[in-house]
Symmetry: C2
Subunit: 84 residues, 2 copies
């Protein structure tokens, strides 16, 4: 595998799975005071649009990465709205 | 402009600028208790790798999007470490 492909793959894994520890932390503490509602609203709508974009282009890496990100970031937004 | 290009562009703007309101909020409150250190560490390393990936491919949209994201997300990480 080429170095550029390795760098891109590691980048994709890190930015996708970054939201998992935040989701776990927020789920456990139920405390969302320091989290920005505007950030997680923009992020979730943006990731949903990336997903639609990937589906329209039939590009599996875009679909997969954004589907996984949405699975982690949607509960954070939901917890933020619930425990506002 | 094609619909798919519009959707991709709006998606890019939303996921890039999502971190700005979080940076402003954290800067103002100096409160970072509810923010995950693992999330913002993974995210910043990931975005930095996306930036390197974009530079290696000479792809300006990847470079620009990740440079802007890094400008917003790096201060959040710095504030999280400072006010831990």
């Amino acid at each position: 595998m080429e170095l550029v492909t390795i760098i891109g793959s590691v980048a994709g894994i890190l930015t996708t799975f970054a939201f998992l520890p935040q989701a776990i932390k927020t789920w456990k503490t139920k405390s969302t005071k320091d989290i920005s509602l505007v950030m997680f609203s923009s992020l979730n709508i943006g990731v949903l649009l990336w997903l639609i974009y990937g589906i329209m282009l039939d590009e599996y890496p875009i679909i997969l990465a954004n589907l996984v990100t949405l699975i982690f970031s949607l509960p954070i937004l939901w917890l933020k709205i619930k425990y506002k």
